[in-house]
């Protein structure tokens, strides 16, 4: 391992030497850029990274190619450690989900956002409370009342253990007094299928993970965990649009949770290098394909860079720490 690190350091040194040499002109990648996904294939982060890869290639936004690499080991710890240990290599960026905060807290794997160089927030992913369409619950309140009456036998499926889905489940239990059995699955797609198959009572899937089943009339959205309704007014299922989903707060479930879909790069990156990627993502956001992904998945399209972004991430980490502590999810 030490050899491995030495090598990486060496390579990084040599590379940064090469990278810095054309001094005056703006920085550009000199070899293929690795886009690390700290999650498995097929999940929300992976879909977004691959869409970006597609957009970059299709519109020729970068002279070098972009390669998406999944490093999902240890709840994403593998990917974050790789970026953390590649100090000074400007050809490695990583897309994050909430495991940027939750993985170090729950497993003790040593990394934090402070070890990485922030690039940009691309979007925020929403969470919606879903139930099977065959069930009678029409509102979050009806569902929570039924869960309370059932006395802790209702099952909630979610992605991973001690991650965002379980944090929301925990918050729901705190807010309502209802008890849920939380069942961890490997990915958002599998979670949605468990709901469609009737093996669990509800999920808190991201919109994009469940939208296909909603269109097919298999699941029903009850409320969105955000302070305001979603902006997207295109009809999706029957005469319902994302905009017709009420907020959970209005249903008496005062919980807000948004998940960061942001990009970081290796530590020790220069401002020119960061700016290159910021510009790249600005261009990506202008494309039709990106807008389509945003509306399909009902994303919150807030874009942030620099100090704002860093501050937002800092606040978010603190919030996760409180949530994780309250839920008893911290590693011993």
């Amino acid at each position: 391992m030490t050899r491995h690190l030495q090598y990486l350091g060496l390579a990084a040194l040599a590379l940064s030497a090469v990278a810095v040499s054309p001094a005056q002109s703006a920085w550009e990648p000199t070899k293929p850029v690795e886009f690390i996904v700290p999650a498995g294939t097929g999940g929300g982060a992976d879909q977004m990274a691959r869409t970006i890869q597609g957009i970059v290639t299709k519109h020729n936004l970068m002279k070098q190619s972009m390669v998406v690499i999944n490093k999902a080991g240890g709840a994403g710890g593998e990917g974050f450690l790789d970026v953390k240990n590649s100090k000074g290599d400007p050809h490695k960026i990583i897309i994050t989900l909430s495991n940027l905060f939750t993985t170090p807290m729950a497993t003790g794997i040593p990394f934090s956002y402070k070890d990485l160089t922030p690039v940009a927030m691309l979007a925020l992913d929403e969470f919606i409370l879903w139930v099977n369409a065959d069930k009678p619950y029409k509102s979050a309140k009806e569902y929570v009342d039924a869960a309370k009456a059932a006395g802790g036998t209702f099952k909630m499926a979610g992605t991973g253990s001690k991650q965002e889905d379980q944090i929301i489940t925990e918050a729901m239990q705190k807010a309502t007094g209802a008890k849920f059995i939380y069942i961890p699955e490997r990915g958002g797609g599998a979670v949605a299928v468990q709901l469609v198959g009737g093996h669990v009572d509800s999920t808190v899937n991201n919109p994009i993970e469940a939208v296909a089943h909603w269109k097919g009339g298999k699941v029903r959205p009850l409320c969105v965990f955000d302070s305001k309704k979603l902006d997207y007014k295109d009809k999706i299922a029957g005469d319902m649009s994302w905009n017709d989903v009420p907020t959970c707060k209005s249903a008496g479930l005062d919980i807000e949770y948004l998940m960061l879909r942001g990009v970081f790069m290796t530590p020790g990156a220069t401002p020119e290098q960061v700016n290159y990627y910021v510009d790249l993502f600005k261009k990506v956001r202008e494309t039709e394909e990106w807008k389509k992904l945003m509306s399909e998945g009902a994303f919150n399209t807030t874009f942030m860079t620099g100090a704002d972004y860093l501050k937002w991430v800092g606040t978010e980490e603190k919030r996760h720490e409180d949530l994780m502590k309250a839920a008893g999810f911290m590693a011993k």
């Binding site: 050899r3 491995h4 030495q6 090598y7 390579a11 040599a14 293929p32 690795e34 190619s65």
Partner: protein
Amino acid sequence: MARRGQSAASAGPSQWSVEIGVALATTIFSIIVIVGSLKVGIGWGAEGPMAGFFPFYVGVMILIASAVNLVQALPQSREDLFSEWGQLRQVAFVLIPTAIYVALIPSVGLYVMSIVLIAFFMRWLGKYGWPLIAAIAIGVPVITFIIFEKWFLVPLPKGPIENLLGY
């Protein structure tokens, strides 16, 4: 060079000692597994088994199986050979260069080490002429480079020489 079968007079480590060694190694392995499982908890909580529950019993089963294997191996004949020394030397001919190859990949890079490994084998074991050696030892890594780095964009470990060439 190639000696097949076993000549009765030749010497080597006995099958007995290797069997015992393997059984002891699996015993040590099982203890590591058991210790690791105890660290994360082996209980059966209200929500089903804890993280260490399965590994713990798996470790216990390895321990039991190792013990049985050990007991069964002990009375075996000590005459049977595991392998002749000459044969083991053959194995070492592959194993030691490969170990060096693996050890040097991180610092020297995979491509350069592959050239060395292939050339070494062809020269030492195959006694080929240098032109053929050069063709294959350089050709294979170059083809590998084209397929992995150029077509499929899979980065492989590179060292100072590749860096000098601009990769």
